[in-house]
Symmetry: C2
Subunit: 161 residues, 2 copies
């Protein structure tokens, strides 16, 4: 079971976008350049974030993507859901209803014990991702990165805007 | 992100094996038949469970697979790990070390904030799966299935052994 690398790219891209001033956007190409990533894939991931309402795009000079709402109101789950979709990782195909000793459909109104337990574990995972905001992450990145590096990031952004 | 259907098959197969008497085994073909599943794939999943030490195989008449230890000592995580491997779903590729503002390797001794948060969420998910034993699941399945269906399962198993 593996999450798409797009989740990592999208999370880092959103962290970069959180540093933009009002009314400014950044292109998918610039976001790809920032981490030296493939522009075509980054464009695809940014489109997915836009469809999910995590980012929005501004047209015209200084346009591009920007966060659709404050970083405090974007969770890590929002980013995962945008890229991976909201389907559970464990998908029950009701095999208890197959074979010589199958359980009749009428007796399968509640999910089977196996599916129910996987759902419970996934709910915990989701709740944890929902509790973590992009703002938390950005604050930590900025705090743990050297001042010189933070200055470099700001200089790079100013050049792109 | 999707878990292999093998996890569902393997979990149900282990639940069936938990009902075997001492010194008896069940073939992968019989386990496939029980839920009307593809025998070749079931064989592959049973081999994975055997390699991980969740099941063991007995040779000779009445041979086949059986649980390698009591159902109380097999967790849902053991089954997931056997089929999917133990790698985390989120795999950090350290993109912070790439691009014009890259963080130098020497400053990346600790995982980045994004990777650390995904690791925390996954740890919760794993801990929950580790806390759920096969015995818990089997007890619930048996309790919620009708007596008639439980009798059918036992009759089917007796015929196969």
């Amino acid at each position: 079971m593996r999450m798409s690398e797009g989740v990592e790219w999208a999370a880092h891209a959103c962290a970069v976008l959180s540093a933009l001033p009002e009314n400014k956007g950044l292109s998918a190409a610039a976001l790809a350049e920032f981490h030296d990533l493939a522009p075509a894939y980054m464009a695809k991931h940014m489109q997915a974030l836009a469809r999910a309402g995590v980012v929005t795009s501004i047209r015209g000079a200084g346009g591009g993507y920007r966060l659709a709402r404050p970083a405090t109101e974007i969770s890590l789950w929002d980013i995962v859901e945008a890229i991976e979709g909201g389907e559970p990782a464990f998908r029950c195909s009701e095999i208890r209803q197959q074979g010589p000793c199958k359980t009749p459909r009428a007796d399968c109104k509640r999910p089977c014990g196996i599916a129910a337990r996987f759902a419970r574990a996934e709910a915990l995972w989701r709740a944890e991702l929902k509790s973590m905001s992009l703002a938390d992450i950005v604050m930590e990145v900025v705090r743990t990165r050297s001042m010189a590096r933070n200055a470099e990031v700001i200089a790079w952004l100013r050049e792109k805007l």
